[in-house]
């Protein structure tokens, strides 16, 4: 199964479970959770089901393409189900079966893991799903998003499609994966991995990045003052990515890092509050939607 077949199969499967299929967000994000159709939708009383592929950037995770499992840019297949269904573990296992993975022939484990995206004020409880010792999915019941308690609780499934594909294609490294017949993952990604690592670790101008961080933050605040939710959130995401670049350059002491994270978290919280009050003003329209998204 090629990687693109795998992504298509997961999309198909979750569409059948009543999920909306938005496309990836067009800014640098460190997690699929940052997609507005995940982050915001987890807030408030409205039901939601969505699944999408999201390219993800984590500058510090780069290994100059020397590590078989790690890269500074990779993909997440993200599912958000709200409220979390009672049979979500079984539904998840069924998705693996539809990829051709028979859990009985493997060692499949739900290993406890408390998940957190500090810059988003988001945290939850759940597991890493291990398949033969490899983490293939992060499985989280959101308890807080944007610093606000979630009610009802959403469950987020974040698949690592590269890892699943490695298993199915029986290859030892993500760089050898077949994306499409005859086209390797490296063809789409490798040309960028080493230069990006160089940039992230050695080249990026930290002074300029720090100044941009301050600028993005100011723009986010400006947009918030005007009640312009998505522009404010976009600049919040830019702050978050800039913070990660500064981090990979080793430019932040622990205290500075904590203080910078706190600045992004405050923006995220204000965005979350703005979203909730805007939806409330609209009368939480999805509450009225017939059960299409809430049940299949």
């Amino acid at each position: 199964m090629t990687l693109q077949e795998l992504l298509a199969a997961l999309s198909r499967y979750w569409a059948d479970q009543g999920c909306v299929l938005p496309v990836a967000y067009d800014l640098e994000v460190a997690a699929g959770t940052m997609h507005p159709d995940a982050f915001f939708r987890a807030l408030g009383p409205e039901p939601w089901r969505a699944a999408f592929v999201q390219p993800t950037r984590r500058p510090s995770d780069g290994r100059y393409a020397q590590n078989p499992h790690r890269a500074q840019r990779y993909y997440q297949f993200q599912v958000l189900l709200k409220p979390s269904p009672d049979d979500v573990q079984d539904t998840y296992l069924e998705s693996l079966r539809c990829l051709g993975i028979d859990p009985r022939q493997h060692d499949l484990r739900f290993v406890e893991d408390d998940w957190e995206v500090p810059t988003l004020g988001a945290s939850g409880v759940g597991w890493e799903v291990w398949l033969d010792g490899m983490e293939i999915t992060q499985f989280t019941y959101f308890q807080q998003v944007g610093g606000l308690s979630t009610r009802p609780v959403s469950v987020e499934l974040t698949y690592g499609p590269e890892r699943l594909a490695m298993l199915l294609q029986r290859v030892e490294s993500i760089w050898e994966l077949e994306w499409a017949p005859g086209i390797r993952y490296a063809e789409l990604g490798f040309h960028a991995e080493t230069p990006c690592c160089r940039y992230n670790f050695d080249v990026a101008d930290t002074e300029r990045l720090s100044a941009w961080f301050a600028g993005y933050e100011a723009e986010a605040l400006l947009a918030l003052e005007q009640g312009l939710l998505l522009p404010a959130y976009d600049y919040t995401l830019k702050c978050s990515h800039t913070l990660n670049l500064l981090d990979s350059r080793g430019a932040l002491s622990m205290a500075e890092r904590a203080a910078t994270i706190e600045r992004v978290r405050l923006l995220a919280r204000r965005c979350a509050e703005a979203y909730l009050s805007q939806r409330e003003a609209l009368g939480f329209p999805l509450l009225a939607r017939p059960a299409a998204a809430a049940t299949e």
């Binding site: 020397q66 979390s84 009672d86 022939q105 010792g133 490899m134 308890q143």
Partner: protein, 725 residues
């Protein structure tokens, strides 16, 4: 009499939480059933990641019948002078719906009253349990609780089913939308293959994408009778009893190790893995021998903590390129499971190698300046500043504990490098390796061996009962690091309260006390003052030395009391010794042990009681404002024979006692001071110390005060709780 079983079916619970939850469950059930007077034989609990189970044998079918007494008006109101019922009595009978002749008069505290006795038939166990069980489940607590779906129940992980049976009968209740029943679920992937687990089994046919039916989710299992629960669950692939799972895993792991002539043994990991599986099957994997050139500690950490594998060592202790994992399930696809785990470990080791090789490019000493970028604690500066203080404190300790010049050079160098590994890449991935990886990098940079050792050593002891630093430099550095940490935190008021210890100061203090108890003499007060001075002037919010030190000494005293208790020192012995001061911990320990031994020795009893009388009398005199101001004993005022004899004996004893005290020979000192017991008794029997003649009284009290000052160098013996009291 039937069995009662409760199974709380959950999504996968954190391994470490299961045993404590089972203990809570057992305790709550026992208590609540006792309160409800429901008799049962035996209670047992069992659990896996997906279920918490309580199993009670021979449970009575109902509560025993009882009688409820309802009190009515007092006899005075209810009976007239002739003993006939009044209207109050008739009214009471009416409201209780009984005939007046059923009313009885009983005397209770407070007088005579009318009563109605009403038989209360016992309720059926099923009915009582239906009320208790949901309360007990809802009251279970976990280190971290969560919510799920639209419900409001909080639990460790979502509750998905509840099985509750009394014999063949369902105990009906519901909890946050889940209704109890007789349905449970077996192993998530069905019962395992029956073949015996074998690490080197031939590869199964890979069946990915094949036989979908074989991989279908576990089917529900219906339990007709509580007594059949365990057997049916076992047939469905769940080994319920943790002790059984643990022993199965132990045997499998040992066998797989033996097959390569090696050992794999780790109780803590065994316990953890026991609670990660419902049906264990161990397998052995291998990794490329070239990884054995990486630091052993890193390899073991990755295997044990990240992957939960048992590392495999040769009889001589060297690490072998094997590991043993435990999968949840039978032998299906075991070869595939092994290959997958090998791939993962390979990748993890590759990552360690990447960081390790990158770290080795910069000698450890060159990392020190980068510590300026890492905050130690918001208000206590950077790690570079801490490093500078460590170097100064190390110099101080080398002066106090005379350390020879080479030892001093090693300790100072180690202090300079102690925190440098915190600036390496390895710390990003494996922060638990701090110190240990510093030792590796120090050796690689050609630092002297004692320096490298001290870097790893200075974090010891990490937990109570751990080994102390093994090297002199490590011991010095560990003391320096701990006193710096404690003094700094106490100076900014970050003092642990109760069990709250966010900065980990309890283990720091316990480690400091453990080391100093075994170390050469050292003044704790002076050490704290030195550490305090090194922080310099820190402005507002920074507590004074006196406040800081007093709080820190109180804190250390608690740790010290715990250590003394472990050594068999009774708490009042500890109080007696510590109340008299504990500036030098080694001496405080010796004093406590000597005093504790003396309390057990028949020949010392008179000494102790004499000392206690001396102390008590002095305290009495001081409290009654009849104490003696400091001053010399006057020979010319020694009128009585007994006081002359006592003072003579004191002058004889004093130099010898002082020498023994100076040499920390506390049993010897107590023996010498014992020579004063008889003369003291003579004095108390024959002389009125608290004489009305003030000069005489003052003089006698001064003799006693001098004697007391010698005893106080061991302890304030008036704190001892004697049997007579």
């Amino acid at each position: 009499m039937s069995d009662l079983v409760l199974e709380i079916g959950t999504e996968d619970l954190p391994a470490a939480w299961i045993r404590p939850a089972l203990a809570q469950l057992s305790q709550a059930l026992t208590e609540r059933l006792r309160q409800e007077s429901i008799a049962f034989g035996e209670i047992r609990t069992a659990g896996t990641p997906r279920r918490l189970v309580a199993y009670l044998s021979a449970v009575a079918p109902r509560q025993p019948d009882s009688v409820v007494e309802i009190r009515g008006p007092s006899a005075k109101q209810a009976l007239d002078a002739d003993g006939n019922f009044t209207s109050a009595a008739y009214g009471f009978a009416r409201t209780q719906d009984v005939f007046p002749e059923d009313l009885i008069v009983k005397r209770v505290t407070g007088g005579e009253y009318l009563f109605v006795e009403r038989p209360k038939p016992g309720r059926p166990t099923v009915e009582v349990a239906a009320r208790l069980l949901p309360e007990i489940i809802a009251d279970l607590t976990f280190p971290k609780m969560m919510r799920w779906g639209e419900g409001s129940q909080r639990f460790a992980r979502p509750i998905r089913w509840l099985l509750a049976l009394y014999g063949t009968e369902v105990i009906p209740f519901s909890l946050d939308g889940v209704t109890s029943g007789r349905i449970t679920y077996g192993h998530r992937f069905g019962p395992p293959l029956a073949s015996s687990p074998q690490g080197d089994a031939p590869p199964n046919e890979p069946s990915d994408g094949g036989d979908a039916a074989a991989g279908s989710a576990a089917m529900p299992v219906t339990i007709p009778d509580a007594s059949l629960y365990r057997g049916l669950l076992r047939a469905a692939g769940v080994m319920l009893d943790p002790d059984e799972r643990r022993e199965v895993i132990r045997a499998q792991v040992e066998d797989l190790g033996r097959a390569v002539g090696a050992q794999a043994h780790d109780e803590a990991l065994l316990e953890e893995v026991t609670f990660r599986v419902e049906w264990p099957t161990a397998f052995r994997g291998a990794f490329a021998a070239e990884f054995l050139s990486l630091p052993r500690e890193a390899l073991v950490l990755v295997m044990r903590q990240q992957q939960r594998y048992f590392p495999v060592t040769a009889p001589d202790g060297t690490l072998l390129p094997h590991f043993i994992g435990v999968r949840d399930g039978g032998t299906e696809g075991l070869e595939q499971v092994r290959a997958g785990n090998e791939r993962v470990l390979q990748a993890r080791f590759a990552d360690v190698r990447f960081l390790y090789q990158e770290d080795l490019e910069v000698p450890l000493a060159e990392r020190v300046p980068a510590l300026a970028r890492i905050t130690y604690q918001d208000r206590l500066g950077t790690l570079l500043e801490k490093t500078e203080r460590l170097v100064s404190l190390t110099g101080y300790l080398c002066d106090v504990w005379p350390v020879d010049e080479p030892g001093r050079q090693d300790a100072l160098r180690a202090a300079h490098l102690a925190k440098a590994d915190l600036a390496t890449g390895m710390m990003r991935e494996l922060p638990q390796l701090r110190g240990v990886i510093g030792r590796v990098y120090a050796r690689h940079a050609g630092e002297p061996e004692p320096v490298a050792e001290a870097i790893a050593d200075h974090y010891r002891p990490i937990a109570p009962g751990d080994a102390l630093p093994r090297t002199e430099a490590g011991r010095i550095l560990s003391v320096a690091d701990r006193i710096d940490t404690l003094t700094g935190h106490f100076a900014i008021g970050l003092v642990p309260t109760g069990a709250q210890d966010p900065y980990g100061l309890h283990p720091q203090a316990a480690g400091l006390v453990a080391i100093l108890l075994e170390a050469p003499p050292l003044s704790l007060g002076a050490l704290c003052a030195t550490a305090y001075a090194l922080y310099g002037d820190r402005g507002p919010g920074w507590r004074s030395l006196e406040v800081t030190r007093a709080a820190l000494l109180d804190f250390l005293r608690l740790r010290l009391e715990a250590f003394l208790a472990e050594r068999g020192v009774r708490y009042d012995t500890a109080d007696a010794v510590l109340d008299a001061g504990f500036d030098d911990l080694g001496r405080a320990l010796a004093r406590a042990l000597a005093l504790e031994a003396a309390r057990e020795a028949p020949e010392c009893q008179e000494t102790l009681s004499a000392a206690i009388r001396v102390g008590s009398l002095l305290r009495f005199a001081a409290r009654s404002e009849m104490g003696a101001p400091p001053g010399e004993v006057r020979i010319d005022l020694l009128q009585e024979e007994a006081e002359q004899a006592l003072y003579g004996a004191y002058l004889d004893v004093r130099p010898r006692a002082l020498r023994a005290l100076r040499e920390a020979d506390y049993p010897g000192a107590l023996g010498i001071l014992g020579e004063l017991a008889a003369p003291l008794d003579e004095l108390f029997d024959n002389v009125l110390v608290m004489s009305d003649d003030e000069p005489l009284r003052v003089n006698r009290l001064r003799i006693l005060a001098e004697i007391q000052s010698l005893f106080l160098q061991i302890g304030d013996l008036t704190r001892l709780i004697t049997e007579a009291e």
